[in-house]
Subunit: 183 residues, 2 copies
């Protein structure tokens, strides 16, 4: 979804009156402003949080049962919710999508996806066992050695980049925090 | 602002009809769902992005001209906007609030503020000169040596933690990426 395709706000979520886009007095960009109660509604990027779950020499991927990218493989990840930290959200998604029990490791990648207004955060994670119990958003969850990763069927560029960073760091024997602008 | 004090969505931003909070069929938590067009409206944490601007042995702080925490000192930071990366947003805020020209360094701190639904990202930054030109949100911008920092007048816990991480790392001579849950 391109930024320009985002549905603009039409009505005030507080009072239901129409909004207009204009630059408020103390601001420098257009915002949705209610024509009745004058509330200003801001639109901001959201966070996607996930993990790189590792079991021995293998990485866990999930085959998506939902759009977008149905049938493609992803690291367990999803939108950060109110009431949880980024790390807690990453653990929750790992449980919901793969049913994997993991010990969360350090932050590993921070990836801007400006085009869709998202910042993705992935954490390293060590699986406690190879047992998996995929949820309804996952067709199949599987462990892959590096030479088995289905690179042509990876769902998202942030997942591809994070996997590449992971295998590079594992070869070097040092894990860093990686930042990148995905565009 | 406590999470529980957030104003809930009352009306659909697409069609203006009232919403109700209920758990959608394919979900596991309450969302605002439009009673007319059935659109589901998600509410998610937002990002605050900023810098630790350094000039020689000094750090730049800004005295806030706006609420919350009017008159208290902060690192330059603000809400990430659509259409920019986290690093671009941090640079923009540094320019808007302090008028400082900096070379952006690496990501330095990632701080969850779950209570208010925010994730704060601070980047190290090297000032190109000590020239400052504070904007309308800043009463005063000033460079502080470590022993001059007004610790009792720091605006936000994320700023205090980031400054403490910075001075600790500078003493060690090694800068890492710091993650913390501020509560």
């Amino acid at each position: 979804m391109l930024l320009t395709a985002r549905d603009r706000i039409q009505f005030c979520r507080a009072c239901g009156a129409p909004v207009v886009y204009r630059i408020p007095a103390d601001d420098n960009r257009e915002r949705a402003v209610c024509t009745r109660c004058a509330t200003v509604w801001y639109e901001n990027p959201v966070n996607v949080v996930g993990t790189v779950p590792v079991w021995q020499d293998k990485v866990l991927l999930c085959k998506r049962a939902i759009e977008p990218r149905h049938g493609f493989w992803t690291l367990p990840a999803g939108f950060l919710e109110l009431g949880e930290s980024a790390a807690q959200g990453a653990l929750r998604e790992t449980d919901e999508e793969a049913g994997a029990e993991v010990d969360l490791g350090p932050l590993f990648s921070v990836l801007d996806v400006v085009r869709v207004g998202q910042v993705h955060l992935f954490y390293l994670a060590t699986m406690r066992s190879p047992e998996l119990n995929p949820g309804s958003e996952t067709l199949e969850a599987r462990l892959f050695r590096e030479d088995e990763v289905p690179w042509d069927e990876i769902a998202f560029r942030t997942v591809r980049e994070t996997l590449q960073f992971f295998f590079e760091d594992r070869r070097r024997g040092v894990f860093a925090v990686h930042c990148a602008d995905i565009g």
